[in-house]
């Protein structure tokens, strides 16, 4: 039995209503743990005053420079002692989950036992960067908890100016849209940078995210310094049986209004069967005895919409790989930036091809470490130096797939034009 609970009239109101309540969970933990009794006391104070009361500090595990988020209470009595002494230290361990966040129950139960012994008993699945967050341990217990989690085969994630814990979608494990082995690629890249994860020494954070198709379920384009998004080069595949099943259920109105009208390049057409064209770049499939779909894949931007609507009837092609975009980040400091295309297509089907991605990631991080200003994200660095300079340093060929449009102003010195043309022509001839 733990000590008596503090009054928590504000938090109590978060036990009402149908959604699972974290307050009810904390109160369950507080039955046995003075630690959580005082955590609830401090949280209630925040609810009363609408202020936060945690400050950072320096807490870690032996051998690593990051991965623990230290929290010390700032809620003090007049004599400087903590107002809620049992929760005066409330550190979080960030632990990297298996790619795709799959678990067996034995592992989850073991996590619970370890965190019952050494921590608050509160675990978040998962943080916004993708870590399992073991929330709430004293300074003394951080090492003990880590040692046991580490012995289970789990390792600390990133924090601070470091390569961060990554995320990949469910992907090939359970999704028909998967365009590469997301989990394998995730591990191949991230496990190359463990030193940069565990010993923060970059200008600022660097995030990788891995999405298996352009639906980008990992939200990589908006928040990853390097986004690896699956795509394909050949024709959309079709399955007539599934196409006819879909059409029988949904009909012509939905086919026209929900797919034809929503195709961003209007390359998806519905035609009478006898008018449907065939050709090297055309996908066709009958949806009924009279009508069918015709897609000119050269005009298709691989947006996924028609495939999402008619899953299985339409599917990504077989020449699969990924598009690499760099520079995504959120607001601070210069405003939100989307990642932008730097490699329109890369195959990831063999170890050799994976190695090419890992090599590109390594060179990008080296360049970032050398050239970014303190607290500058990759996207901000590229904004400052210009994409062409970044591409040049990465030895990547320029490609019109990298821009929405060519330049709209004359403010560029072009006396190297003939040399550039000669280089492009020489490359073409060598290819």
């Amino acid at each position: 039995m733990a000590k008596q609970m503090h009054d928590t009239p504000n938090l109590d109101q978060l036990e009402d209503g149908p959604w699972p309540s974290f307050v009810t969970g904390l109160k369950e933990l507080a039955k046995d743990k003075d630690y959580v009794v005082d955590l609830l006391g401090q949280l209630e104070e925040s609810y009363k005053t609408r202020k936060g009361y945690w400050k950072g500090g320096t807490v870690g595990v032996f051998g690593y420079g990051g991965g623990v988020i230290p929290r010390f209470t700032e809620l003090k009595n007049e004599d400087g002692t903590p107002k809620f002494k049992d929760a005066a230290e409330f550190h979080t361990l960030r632990i990297m989950p298996p790619a795709g966040m799959h678990y067996d129950t034995a592992t989850l139960r073991q996590f619970c036992d370890i965190w019952d012994r050494h921590g608050s008993g509160l675990i978040a699945f998962h943080g916004q960067s993708g870590d399992i967050m073991f929330q709430g341990a004293t300074t003394e217990n951080v090492q003990k908890a880590f040692d046991e989690l580490n012995e289970m085969g789990f390792d600390l994630g990133g924090a601070g100016p470091a390569v961060r814990t990554s995320m990949s979608c469910v992907g090939a494990a359970r999704c028909e849209q998967s365009c590469y082995d997301e989990a394998k690629t995730h591990r191949a890249v991230i496990n190359t940078f463990l030193d940069d994860i565990h010993r923060p020494s970059l200008p600022y954070k660097f995030k990788f995210k891995f999405s298996g198709c352009p639906n980008d379920c990992m939200n990589s384009v908006q928040r990853a310094d390097m986004a690896v998004i699956g795509t394909w080069r050949d024709n959309i595949r079709t399955d007539e049986a599934l196409a006819k099943t879909w059409f029988a259920k949904h009909g012509m109105d939905e086919l026209v209004n929900d797919i034809v009208a929503r195709c961003p390049t209007k390359t998806f057409q519905v035609k009478e069967l006898k008018k449907i064209k065939t050709g090297e770049h055309i996908s066709t499939v009958a949806v009924s005895d009279t009508h069918g779909i015709e897609i000119n894949n050269q005009d298709c931007v691989r947006c996924m919409h028609c495939i999402n609507v008619m899953t299985g009837a339409l599917a990504p092609g077989q020449d699969k790989g990924a598009t690499i975009l760099v520079g995504g980040k959120s607001h601070l400091k210069i405003g939100g930036l989307m990642g932008t295309v730097v490699i329109p297509f890369i195959k990831l089907d063999t170890d050799e091809n994976l190695e090419k991605l890992v090599d590109f990631a390594q060179r990008t991080i080296d360049f970032f470490a050398e050239n970014a200003l303190e607290h500058e994200r990759t996207g901000e660095m590229i904004e400052r130096i210009g994409l062409a300079n970044f591409l040049d340093a990465m030895e990547l060929d320029v490609d019109p797939a990298m821009v929405n449009s060519p330049r709209m102003n004359p403010y560029v010195r072009t006396d190297g034009w003939d040399d550039e043309v000669a280089k492009i022509n020489a490359k073409k001839q060598a290819a």
């Binding site: 925040s46 690593y64 979080t92 003394e140 494990a173 999704c175 591990r187 599934l242 939905e254 405003g335």
Partner: protein, 365 residues
């Protein structure tokens, strides 16, 4: 590290095993491992259930349930009990903190759903539903929070409970909340983000000892901070006519307190979309601000979000995400239909903002 730890572990400290991301193969449901990379299609037999069919003919059903994300070990053990008894011992979590139970036998689906719901875990969050809110730490654990995270999410999901369990939206609705303008919650169809309205209040006694002043000066997006001597102490001062109250100076310099119980407000943003489906990915746009940080249940925020959701539900066509819908009806109609006031603060004046102005006569009357 405190002295107790140093004393307790003198000579032989355990070296970490630098193993990185674990291989997920041993955690996969056996059918997922067997059919890895060989899935053919999926459908949704009912809200909260995904049914995947492999080219091999194998099938799996995934039952998705909402959680509170910050889970106590009793809740996690309860979910494990359910997974062992009513499912097949393998689970996964989605990016939005839902748990998925994977079974290879359709007859297990209904009893599993019944067991989850009778234990208070709502089944849903698939397809065209309002999803669980991506969120952050807030007052529970963050060192710079303007508000709470789990509490806001709990209060809102209570209100959106039915929409989580149904698939009645035109398309999926992703939500996020963020406790400061760093926006850890991320881009979403509807996002709730703290918006400070007053410059930081500086404790000049502490700045010199706590803050690396050049770093703080460099952190300001509008160069409003400069070093100064205040009351004979080296400190920092702010040009309040330049300051736009973003709070970027607060993390590197906690004596520059930006959070204020009254003046830290909540803003609502709409139309963020990371998918490439149909249009290109979009960033969300601010459509409302000035909402009070009204713990513990934030009723004004909940009303504003519910209002936008209900107008969208009524007005958008099938497959239109929030951004697609607004593209069709236009911003004037969005503000008209939602009843939200369009104020001068919503006209962008940050770098690149001219691209956000209407340089045409395309106007819907």
């Amino acid at each position: 590290m405190n002295q107790a730890v140093q004393a307790a572990a003198p000579a032989a400290k355990r070296k970490p095993k630098e193993t990185g991301v674990p291989d997920n193969k041993k955690f996969l449901h056996p059918s997922l491992e067997k059919n890895y990379g060989n899935w053919k299609y999926h459908d949704r037999p009912r809200p909260g259930v995904l049914h995947h069919v492999s080219h091999s003919g194998d099938q799996v059903w995934s039952v998705r349930a909402g959680t509170q994300r910050q889970m106590d070990i009793y809740t996690i053990r309860k979910l494990c009990d359910i997974a062992d008894t009513f499912a097949e011992g393998r689970v996964r979590f989605t990016i939005r903190s839902n748990i998925e139970f994977i079974v290879s036998d359709e007859s297990k689906v209904a009893p599993l759903i019944a067991e989850l719901e009778s234990n208070g875990f709502p089944v849903g969050g698939t397809g065209n539903s309002v999803t669980m809110i991506a969120h952050t730490q807030g007052w529970l654990h963050c060192d710079i929070p303007g508000t709470d995270a789990s509490g806001v999410v709990k209060a809102l999901m209570d209100e959106l409970y039915d929409e989580f369990r149904r698939e009645e939206m035109p398309n999926r609705v992703h939500l996020s909340t963020s406790c400061c303008e760093i926006n850890c919650g991320g881009q979403a169809d509807i996002a709730i983000i703290v918006q400070h309205t007053k410059p930081p209040v500086i404790n000049h006694d502490l700045v010199a000892n706590v803050c690396e002043r050049p770093t703080v000066v460099a952190r300001c997006p509008v160069a409003a901070i400069r070093p100064a001597m205040v009351n004979g102490k080296p400190s920092l001062e702010i040009d309040e006519s330049k300051c736009m109250c973003c709070g970027a100076c607060y993390p590197p310099c906690p004596p520059m307190q930006i959070n204020d119980p009254e003046n830290s407000k909540l803003a609502i943003w709409v139309g963020g979309k990371n998918s490439n489906a149909r249009g290109k990915p979009t960033f969300m746009k601010m459509v409302a601000s000035g909402l009070p940080n009204n713990a513990p249940r934030w009723p004004e925020v909940a009303d504003a979000v519910k209002n936008i959701i209900s107008v969208y539900k009524e007005d958008a066509r099938p497959w239109e995400r929030m951004a697609d819908w607004i593209d069709r009806i236009g911003w004037p109609r969005f503000f008209e239909k939602t009843g939200l006031p369009f104020t001068k603060y919503l006209i962008d004046d940050w770098r690149g903002s001219r691209a956000n102005l209407n340089a045409s006569t395309h106007i819907r009357f």
